[in-house]
């Protein structure tokens, strides 16, 4: 049954997509900024994994940790030093600021890494599993599992730790949180760092499955838009559901309309969702 093959492809893709979108959604929800840097963070995470593997022989799944730490650090200081200065201003200002930063970062990556597509070619791939007529690449399946573990980790962090509770509090009411003694600027920086760390981790995870070039950022970013709105802005479980839904949408959409229209289809869904279900599939309670 070819149907189950598409289903499997969609779900495996969906896990990676969920990881791509979780950090973006968190930042959008809590800081109320649309972070155009997110795509470039993913690409940088990819290059960390790529060079770790080609130079040092470290498996991309292990580079997830390095990428998360490096990108988290970058994110923390970008937010603390730059974005926090304009955080209370309109979406126009914050969006343009992250656009400017994205231009800088893309240009830097273009000069340092050259414009061609790269991909990690594993020397010892895990191989392919056959489930009846369905073929599943075990490396991809493993990266999907890790992606969901990371999302679970992020969700637990928000639920159980005091910094996580602070993030949620700031999201719901910035002023009240401030009055309760929460350092809002630091909380913003940590939130942004978490978002960037998730992006970096996602970049490393997909390094063995997808070819990436320095300017691939906008493609990942546009997918993050759709998933984030699908799942509900700011919701981590929502991003997981949205990612899976988007993976399926892309997998089956490619069959029905041809793969060149996959992105168009996704954007049309995005606009319809914004109009009819602005809080996403799970609704506001999903946070």
């Amino acid at each position: 049954m070819i149907f189950f093959q598409y289903l499997a492809n969609g779900l495996i893709l969906g896990g990676l997509y969920a990881c791509i979108a979780a950090g973006f959604s968190l930042v959008w929800g809590v800081l109320s900024i649309i972070n155009l840097l997110h795509g470039s963070f993913i690409v940088l995470g990819f290059y960390i994994a790529f060079f770790s593997y080609t130079v040092l022989g470290i498996h991309p799944f292990l580079s997830v940790i390095t990428s998360a730490i490096v990108l988290g650090g970058i994110g923390y200081f970008v937010q603390l030093g730059l974005i926090n200065r304009v955080i209370t201003r309109s979406v126009l200002v914050t969006l343009i600021l992250t656009f400017g930063l994205e231009l800088m970062m893309n240009n830097a990556m273009l000069v340092s890494f050259s414009a061609d597509y790269k991909k990690v070619l594993l020397a010892h791939p895990l191989g392919i599993a056959h489930l009846g007529n369905v073929f599943i690449s075990l490396d991809r399946a493993a990266s999907t599992v890790i992606a969901f573990l990371l999302i679970l980790l992020l969700w637990l962090l928000l639920r159980l730790t005091s910094i996580g509770r602070a993030i949620v509090a700031v999201r719901f009411d910035r002023e009240a949180a401030m009055l309760m003694g929460i350092d809002v600027n630091r909380t913003y920086a940590i939130t942004f760092a978490l978002g960037a760390a998730m992006a970096g981790a996602a970049g490393s995870l997909l390094s063995a499955s997808f070819p990436v070039a320095p300017l691939s950022g906008p493609l990942f970013l546009s997918k993050a838009f759709v998933i984030c709105v699908l799942g509900g802005v700011g919701s981590v479980p929502g991003a997981a559901v949205g990612g899976l839904a988007f993976g399926l949408l892309e997998s089956f959409g490619a069959v029905l309309f041809g793969s060149e229209y996959a992105l168009t289809l996704a954007f049309v869904v995005l606009i319809i969702l914004l109009l009819v279900r602005p809080h996403g599939l799970l609704g506001v309670k999903g946070f």
Partner: protein, 311 residues
């Protein structure tokens, strides 16, 4: 307008009209580009500045206008007809899109308008039989000398900019401008006091779309070759916003001043940092946003600037 303003205005217009006398095609090209961005910024300013809606999709109308005009022109129709068709299509698209998208506010509106250009680009890419797809579209050659072409398109763009300016001026001093101002300050309150916000928003959105489409059509005829990634480039959506921020949002002269200031900077960067051009451009944007949050008006000398800008 006050008397000194009028004087400066007349002087600038006279200088612009006489610019082709210099006989320098480089200057003329630069001036034409500047006028084009001034049109786009004025188009953006109606929705983004007056009504305060975060419009990130001027590139959609620009690209649509460019392709509509180019398709008509390359099927052998006269250039004027091509431009008219482009404006009609741009206007119609803006009306339909306005009905759909103007229910959204804030971030949702920003994202929705941002992806419209992407959708159109993908569709243009896919519709190879009409648009040439990713190979782009060549427009028929005029057979004029380069200088004659440069002068012709300079005057066309100047005329378009003048039309956009007059429109901006009328909007600002009219019920429409007043209504848009109210919408920016508090849309719900505007609704309650009886302003038909939906209608005014759609009119504003349509004006934006029409002018951006016209600029796109002229651009296509001017360059003679267009492709989807070029005319639907997100920079066509972003640059006008930066220019408006720079010159003063929701003002009459702000968009023009912002366009001139930004492109002067942009050209300097291009000439000096070819490899790092986008990076330096990004750096300039970051610096502008962080250190000049209220645009060039931060430099006002005893409030002169603000008075000059707000007409």
């Amino acid at each position: 307008m006050t008397r000194p303003q009028l004087l400066i205005f007349v002087l600038v217009v006279a200088l612009l009209l006489a610019l082709p006398l210099l006989g320098n095609n480089y200057v003329l090209r630069l001036a034409t580009i500047t006028l084009m961005y001034a049109v786009l910024t004025m188009a953006w300013n109606v929705v983004g500045g007056f009504a305060g809606y975060p419009l990130f999709g001027i590139a959609a109308f620009f690209g649509l206008g460019a392709y509509s005009g180019a398709v008509v022109q390359s099927s052998g129709f006269p250039i004027a007809l091509a431009w008219i068709v482009a404006v009609v299509i741009g206007t119609a698209f803006a009306v339909v899109l306005g009905f759909i998208l103007l229910r959204l506010r804030g971030h949702a509106f920003a994202i929705a308008t941002l992806v419209i250009a992407e959708v159109l680009r993908e569709l243009t890419n896919g519709w190879t039989s009409l648009t040439g797809g990713g190979m782009g579209l060549n427009l028929p050659f005029f057979g004029w000398s380069p200088t004659a072409l440069a002068v012709f398109f300079f005057y066309v763009m100047l005329g378009l900019a003048a039309a956009a300016f007059v429109t901006t001026y009328i909007v600002a001093h009219n019920r429409l401008g007043f209504a848009l101002n109210c919408i920016r300050q508090n849309e719900d309150a505007a609704n309650i006091v009886g302003i038909d916000t939906t209608r005014y928003k759609i009119i504003a959105f349509t004006l934006s779309g029409a002018f951006a489409a016209a600029a796109g059509a002229v651009y296509a005829s001017w360059t003679g070759y267009i492709e989807p990634t070029d005319v639907y480039d997100v920079l066509f959506s972003i640059k006008p916003i930066i220019m408006a921020l720079l010159g003063g949002m929701g003002t009459v002269f702000g968009p023009i001043i912002g366009a001139v200031a930004f492109l002067a900077l942009d050209e300097l960067v291009w000439r000096n940092f070819l490899q790092l051009h986008t990076g330096v451009l990004g750096f300039l944007i970051v610096v502008l946003i962080l250190f000049l949050p209220s645009g060039l008006s931060a430099f006002r000398i005893s409030n002169l600037w603000r008075k000059a800008v707000s007409a």
